[in-house]
Each structure stands twice: as C-alpha cells, then as structure tokens.
C-alpha cells in the first residue's frame, strides 16, 4: 500500500502538472479578461476532477465489491445499518468548504472582468438588430454594418488594436440579442432600452469568429460577425483608409 503510494506520488504530480496547463476543451482567451476567465475555468475543472473521481470511485467500488454473487443465498440481506453521523457530517461539511473556495475565486475574477477603464484607447458602439450588427467608432466617424442575409456570409468585421483597451457600448433596437466572441470567452446580452458597457483588451492578433447568442427570431443563426485584432499602427492605417473610403462614398 505504502509503496504503491510512493510510486503514485510522482505520477500524480505529472498528472497535476498536465492538468494545470490543460485547456480542457476551452479556448484560451484572446483578451486579458478572457485569459482571466480561462484560468478560473481551469480552477473549476481541476477541482471537479478529484470530486468526480471520489464519487465515481465510491459508486463503482460499492457496486463491484458488494454485488450479489451466484453463491449467495438469493434472500441474503446486506448489513442493516442506517447511517453514520460522522460520515454524514463530513460529506456535508467538505462540499461546503469546496464551494466557498470556488465562490471566492469566481467572485474575484468577476470583479476584474467587469472592471471598466475610465479612459479607454478605443470605443466601439455595437448595435445589434434583426439580423445583423452595426459597429461604429464614434470618435472616428466610421460605421460598419451587416449586409442583410439569411445565409452564412462574411459578416461585418470589427477591427481592434492589439494590447489596447477597447470599450464596447452595446445596444439593441428591436429584440434581445447577445454579443459573443467565443475566443474572448465573453458574451453580453443586448437588451432594447438599455445600454451596456464592457472592456476588451486583446492579447493576440488574428481574426475571431463572433455570433449572436440569444435567440432573436428567424435568422438568428446567420447573425455572425468577426473581430480582427491587428497591431496598433495597422489599426491606425485601417481607420484612415476606411474613413477616406466612407467619405468618398
């Protein structure tokens, strides 16, 4: 038993190490806020592994160890005890401690994710409508709007500068929608009559797929968009070119 334990220890460490760097199926978060949520997901997932392991282990062990065998008298009874107060207190108390820990981690991350900078580098007004998106850069006087569609087309593209804080001002003018960029691990509902503000700080360049996540009627599934994150200099060029193009039109 003890020797098995000694051998198991390094193996457990290796497993834990892999676990701590594992993504468990989740995108890693291409914004500062998303990376924070990603780490929280890792904490929840890693906490879930031993809990599920213990419960599954106990269930399977009981089922296998205490199965009725062919040799048993078909009327044989199991032992007739009705509980065990110490055990019962333990399995009530330990989960309470676990959820307190999880709550603390979750609440701390939420404070950081919800924090809004008073002086963002870029502001984008996002307007959701049936079934598309309008992205306006208010200081720059440029607007990008969805083409109407009932098919998958390249939706409107929002361009953001890498490493700078972008304030998103989210509104909807008809029904409820939700702005979701899976790679940012973040979505927010857009509710008509209300304005929501949140910050995104991209940490990776690339083009990220975005979609409406709150069912909004017939062509909900085709209400897609994308976000392209580029270095700040390229962002500035893009703005100038777009402004010139829109002025010409």
């Amino acid at each position: 038993m003890r020797r098995a334990g000694r051998r198991a220890a390094p193996a457990t460490l290796v497993l834990l190490g892999t676990a701590c760097s594992g993504s468990f199926g989740m995108p890693r978060g291409a914004t500062e806020q998303g990376a924070d949520i990603f780490r929280l997901w890792q904490i929840f997932f890693i906490a879930a592994i031993p809990v599920a392991g213990v419960v599954y282990g106990l269930i399977l062990w009981s089922v296998i160890r205490y199965r009725r065998r062919r040799s048993d008298d078909p009327d044989a009874l199991g032992s007739q005890f009705r509980g065990n107060h110490r055990l019962e207190l333990a399995y009530m108390g330990i989960p309470i401690l676990i959820v307190i820990g999880l709550f603390a981690a979750s609440a701390a991350v939420e404070v950081r994710v919800d924090a809004v900078s008073s002086d963002p580098d870029v502001t984008v007004n996002v307007e959701a409508f049936q079934w598309g998106w309008g992205f306006t850069y208010p200081g720059e006087g440029v607007t990008i709007v969805s083409p109407p569609s009932g098919e998958f087309v390249a939706g409107p593209q929002m361009v953001l500068p890498l490493g700078q804080t972008t304030r998103i001002v989210l509104t909807a003018n008809d029904v409820i929608h939700a702005f979701w960029v899976p790679d940012f691990l973040y979505k927010h509902d857009a509710i008509p009559g209300r304005t929501f503000v949140f910050d995104l700080t991209p940490t990776r360049t690339g083009t990220f797929y975005g979609e409406c996540a709150e069912f909004c009627g017939l062509n909900h599934a085709y209400m897609t968009f994308s976000v392209r994150v580029v270095p700040p200099a390229e962002f500035a060029t893009w703005l100038v070119l777009l402004r010139a193009g829109q002025a010409a039109a």
Partner: protein, 546 residues
C-alpha cells in the same frame, strides 16, 4: 380502512385484472387509474418531443441546412423544450405520485379525487393546445423558444396565433400543477395510515411533498407573467415592451422565478424514485434517511433563490449573490449522492433492470451536477451561457438523470400497476442502448459549447470545429431511438404474454408491495401499524423490525 394486527390479506386476482373500458378509463376518479393516465399520456408526449429532437439532430448532422426550413426548425426546438419539460417529465412525476402516494402512505385514494381528474384533463387539454401552437398556420407556429423572451414574443415580432395558443397551454399546465400540488399536500398531511409519521414517509412521497410546495410557490407568478404577456399581445398592454415603457428584464425575472424551481420539479420526484430503488436492490435500509429528507428540503428552499443564474449575461442582476446560492445547492445534492452510495455500501446488490437504470442515473447525473457547478460561476457562464455546453448540462440532468429514473420507475412499478413483469433480458438491452446512446448524443455537445456553438442555431459554418461532434451526437440519437423502440416492444410483449408478478416481485420496502398487483380499488383490506420507513420489509422480517 380498518386497522388490525393481521398481515394484510389483499384480494389476489387469479386472472388478469378486468380491463376498464375506454370511457371508464377516461372518467374514473380512482387515483391508480389517473396515475396511469398521466404516465401514459406523458410518455406519449415524450415520443412526440423525441421525434422533434430526431428531426433537429438530422438537420444538425451536417453544416449546411438540409432537411427543414429555418422557421420549422425554430418551431421544433420551441415545442421540443416545452413538451419535454411541461408535458412529459413534470407530469410523469405527478402521475407516479398519483399512483404511489396513497399506496405508500396507506390511504384508499387521494384527498380530492375529482380535483385530481380535473387536473389531468387540464394537463391533457393544455398538451393539445401546445401541440396545436406548433402547427397553427396563420402567421406560423410558436417559434420564440420555450422561454418566450420579450420583446421577441410580443405581437410586433411574433404575430402568429401560435404564441397565443402556447401561452394558454402553459397557463393551463400551471393551473393543473397547482391543483395537483394541493391534492398531494392534503393527502400526505391528512391521510396517512396509523403509525406512518412524517419521519417514516417513503422518500418518494417526501420528495413529492417538496415538489408540490415548489409548484405552489413558483407557478402563480408564472401565470401572472403569461397573463401580462397575453395582455401585451392582444389587449394593447406594455408590461414588457420597451417602446411603451415596459421592461423585458421583468419578464425574465418572473419567468425564471418559475423556471428555476421548475428545474427541481423536474428532478426531485426522480431523486425519489432512485431512493426507492437503490435500498430494495441493495437489500439494505436507506443510509441517512434524515439527512436525505433535510437535503430535499434544503434543495427546495435554495431553489427559490437561484433563478437569476439564467441571467448572468444580462448585466441587470446581482451576479455574486445568485452565483453563491447556485453553488450552495450542490451541497445537498452531494449529500444525496453520498447517501445513495452509502446505501449500496455493504449491501447485496442485484442488477435488475430498475437497478441498472438507477446506476445509469448516478453516472449521468454526476456529470450534470459537476457541470452545473461550473455554470454557477458567473464569469465561466459569460462564455457558456446559451451555448451547447448548457444544452449538454441540462440534458445530463433531465435526460440522463430524470428520464433514466423514469425508466427505472417504469421497470420497478410496472409489475405493481399491471400485475405482469416486463422482460428482464430485453430491459437490460434497453438500458445499455439508452446509456450508450445518451452519452454519445450529449457528451459531444459539451465540446461544441466550449468551442463556441450557440444553441438554437439551425445550421453552422463548416470547418470551425462543429462538424464532427454534431455528427457523433446525431448518431447517438439513433442509438437511443433503438432503445426506446425496444422498450415499447417490451411493454407490448409483456402485456400480451403475461408473466405474473405476484404482490412483491422485488422484495420491496414500502406499503405498495403488501397489497395485490394491481391493487384493489380500495388499496388495502387491512394494515398493520407502521413502525419504520419500510413497513413491507418489517412484515417479511419481523425479527429485524424495530
């Protein structure tokens, strides 16, 4: 009902029981008849909802849109959700409660037999209205999703008459639930046999008591919400219409104030089934009876304070509060898991079909519970909400949990209800097909959700990671489909070529096993005073009785 010290002598029918005529079936106020009506009707709705799920799975098997129109798809997921929640799982629980509660507490019938039949007819009528709401063609069927968020469900965006039929149907279901709840509470509080104290109630009955209370608290606000929505739509109201000064978030609060207790209305009765099945086939008393009852009450109480965890991404609620409440609810649920495991510990476990389904329940529901803890964290939910991760999570609780418990219950009590056994070997195949099929269907949906596939999408672009999991999921559906077909065959064969069950084929614990199968109209001829929470066991083993 008389009380003597004799072992009950229930009339033992030599021949298969007399069949009720169709009119008698539909009008008898006997609780056993109403219970069976409820269960059979609810199972019929399960087949309807399951067929809709099949069409959706076929549509999603490949990226582009192939089989149904977008409008039809939107209607299908609306009706699928409504049917499974309000017309299958919840009424099946009420049906079993109707059948079992009087038997388990030693009463001749429910407290209000005619109210009981009325609530069945409200439910059946509501079911027809809801099915109609999906096919009503003037302006299209109801296609706003089962939670009918405003303003989408307002006249301006959903002009079809389908939404109105849907609202009426749901309101009738709510009223039916309230009637059922009143009946259950009155029966349990006033009609228990001598010696059947509240602390000796079988856990299934206890769980139905808590479920009934939840229904009484949660359904009236929902009826108010649906009434206001109807007024908005048809009578020029603006309660939820932002253009008229109304508030869409108010609708969400009212709806989820029903919606979240409803989730526990969809699980507590089935926790009850599992808690009946496991001790019987482990040949042991329940481990920690008191703890289990307190856990059920705690779940009921906490479930009234978690509704806004459906609204974490709306930005209009106090996320940390609802996050904490939702995390806490994992504790009493965990208590139940340990109590079930403790019951099997040092038992003599036999793997009959009901026990196999109960084990399937344990294995599936644990995943539902663990992912529920993840979703209780608001920041994690910022990513997961309205994705297939949520879809997978709640199917692991409702389908992998409640529906597996329903099958456990059917295999367990079918002999009591009909006097005939279901086929053991066939049943094992059904259990394996459903377990494998279920996990193949819904495990890939966790992956889909993590990768960013939103729910309620009729199609998806190819090559962004959604193709393979969707295909596997559709394949899994057909494995489950085969399981359900085999199950129906099992029922048909078992009813036609009867293997008599006898009073107590399993060595049961609660009082329904001391009367004949099926029980006579008045249930019991005589009852011994009840001394513990397993009176039938005490009769078989007087040497071990307290």
């Amino acid at each position: 009902m008389s009380v003597t010290l004799e072992r009950p002598v229930a009339a033992q029918p030599e021949e298969p029981p007399r069949r009720l005529g169709p009119v008698e079936r539909l009008t008898s106020t006997d609780h056993k008849n109403i219970g069976i009506l409820y269960c059979v009707t609810a199972f019929g709705f399960f087949l309807v909802g399951g067929a809709l799920a099949g069409l959706m799975r076929v549509e999603l098997a490949e990226p582009a849109r192939q089989v149904v129109s977008t409008q039809a798809y939107n209607t299908m997921f609306t009706i699928h959700g409504t049917v499974m929640i309000f017309l299958f799982v919840a009424p099946f629980g009420i049906g079993l409660a109707n059948y079992l509660i009087p038997l388990q507490i030693g009463a001749p019938d429910m407290a209000f037999p005619r109210l009981n039949l009325t609530s069945y007819w409200f439910f059946a009528g509501a079911g027809l209205l809801i099915l109609l709401s999906g096919v009503a063609s003037t302006g299209g069927g109801a296609a706003m999703g089962w939670y009918a968020y405003t303003p989408l469900s307002e006249m301006r965006y959903s002009p079809g008459v389908g939404v109105d039929l849907w609202i009426l149907g749901i309101a009738l279901v709510a009223i039916s639930n309230v009637m059922g709840g009143v009946n259950i509470l009155t029966t349990v509080f006033l009609m228990r046999a001598p010696g059947m104290t509240m602390w000796r109630l079988p856990i299934f009955t206890w769980n139905m008591v808590v479920t009934a209370i939840l229904g009484l608290v949660a359904f009236p606000p929902a009826v108010a919400a649906f009434a206001l929505l109807f007024i908005d739509r048809r009578l020029g109201g603006h309660a939820f219409d932002p253009l008229g000064g109304g508030d869409p978030a108010l609708y969400q609060h009212l709806f989820w104030f029903l919606g979240h207790p409803e989730v526990y209305i969809l699980i507590l009765p089935f926790f009850g089934i599992i808690t009946e099945v496991i001790p019987v086939f482990s040949r042991k008393p329940l481990f920690g009876y008191l703890g289990l009852v307190l856990a059920t009450i705690a779940i009921g109480a906490l479930s009234m304070g978690v509704w806004a965890h459906h609204m974490f991404t709306t930005g209009v609620v106090n996320n940390p509060f609802f996050s904490a409440m939702s995390l806490l609810i994992a504790v009493p649920t965990g208590v139940k898991f340990f109590a079930w495991t403790g019951t099997m510990w040092k038992g003599k476990i036999s793997f009959t079909v009901p026990m196999l389904f109960a084990l399937g329940f344990l294995l599936n529901f644990l995943i539902g519970g663990v992912t529920g803890v993840m979703l209780a964290s608001a920041p994690i939910d910022f990513h997961m909400n309205d994705s297939y991760f949520v879809v997978a999570h709640f199917h692991y609780t409702i389908m992998g949990g409640s529906v597996f418990a329903i099958f456990a219950g059917i295999y367990f009590w079918f002999p009591k209800m009909t006097g005939a056994m279901l086929r053991e070997r066939l049943g094992r195949v059904v259990a394996v097909l459903l377990f494998v099929g279920f996990n193949l269907t819904f495990w890939p949906q966790f992956v889909l959700g993590l990768r960013g596939f939103p729910r309620r999408y009729v199609s998806y672009p190819p090559d962004i990671g959604f193709d393979t999991p969707n295909l596997v999921s559709t394949f899994g559906y057909f494995v489950m489909f085969a399981g359900v077909v085999l199950f129906l065959a099992d029922v048909a064969v078992s009813l036609r070529r009867r293997v008599p069950a006898g009073d107590d084929p399993w060595g049961g614990n609660s009082l329904e096993w001391v009367t004949s199968s099926p029980p006579p109209d008045h249930n019991f001829d005589a009852l011994r005073p009840i001394r513990s929470e397993r009176p039938a066991f005490d009769l078989r083993h007087p040497e071990l009785a307290p």
